[in-house]
Symmetry: C2
Amino acid sequence: MSRSSQTQVAVLGALTVEPMTAYALREAIRDVLGHFWSESFGQIYPTLQALEDEGHVRRQEGARARSSVFVITPSGTARLIELLNEPVQENPPRNGLLLRLFFGRVLGRERCRELLRGAKNAAEAQRAEYEQLLAHLAVAEGDTPDWPYIRMTILAGIHHARAAAAWADECLDTLQGEP
Amino acid sequence: MSRSSQTQVAVLGALTVEPMTAYALREAIRDVLGHFWSESFGQIYPTLQALEDEGHVRRQEGARARSSVFVITPSGTARLIELLNEPVQENPPRNGLLLRLFFGRVLGRERCRELLRGAKNAAEAQRAEYEQLLAHLAVAEGDTPDWPYIRMTILAGIHHARAAAAWADECLDTLQGEP
DNA sequence: ACCTGCATGTAAGTCGTTACATGATTGA
DNA sequence: TCAATCATGTAACGACTTACATGCAGGT
């Protein structure tokens, strides 16, 4: 599954929830999928154009002049299901923090400890944010059919953040002492 | 810190361990940093060329004809330290599994359970692999000054894999029952 | 009148992978 | 001698971001 197909997943998926303009689509992807997905304008507009050409979405006139609200068509839904069933494509790992720590001998022990403390704080802050989001959305979305699935994505964030904090702690322990 | 600077970190860092040909560099990055970093030939060759132009590495004649062994220079070490101290650059999140699960309503519950089982198995396999690697390297590298830092990167993989398996389990629990 | 937010699109440029072309060396 | 591996490099392509250009609508 090529990268651009995954953009189609994000776009078609968002449109199954509600018809939207391209602008709103970008906001929805940023605000709702933002914790695990991202798309820029430069991707969204051409993708919508391509999807329209293939009949997977159509334009509805919007409330404002020259604004198009995009609606997913039955063929678009079929296409989405097809795409969702394709194997998940892993992208090459690129973790800047681990790259730095791996060369910790060159960077120096104290600087590594700083990086780890930063990572720990970031992870704890993020975890708190996810917990809050979970509680908030449980009230707002708790009854919708999407809720169990939305919840899983937030849980992933919580588990990940918890693991990152625990890892940083363990590393700080092993790296303690005089430089 | 731009992406290409991070390529320089990987290249210069690897050369602090040992002088190498470009080919060996790519293998080292793939095999040693592979769990958290990746570079392709198309990146490595031009990067080495640029580093040579700036005097950060120099070519030594290799054992084979037309092969160059690259050696890091003092200015290269200084450059590496400078780069290691730049802030870590986070790249936009793109998690294909979470993207699919988020639209689980469209994909269907049973297919989501399959995805989660797959993720759990992959995580457990990966964790076992990391544990083995840790034990193996503890013997081979346990006395080198790089060891504490290498160990941290493997620990990160273990924590991450453990969290992923626990998450998948928790999700499978909430998603059980009749479709 | 003017600022902010909504809205659409394109173009330039970077980043990065893959495929290709080429050849030396080594071991079976 | 033949295949696999070591080795170097480039070219083409695709993916993606950012900046730019443009303009409407609503509120102060």
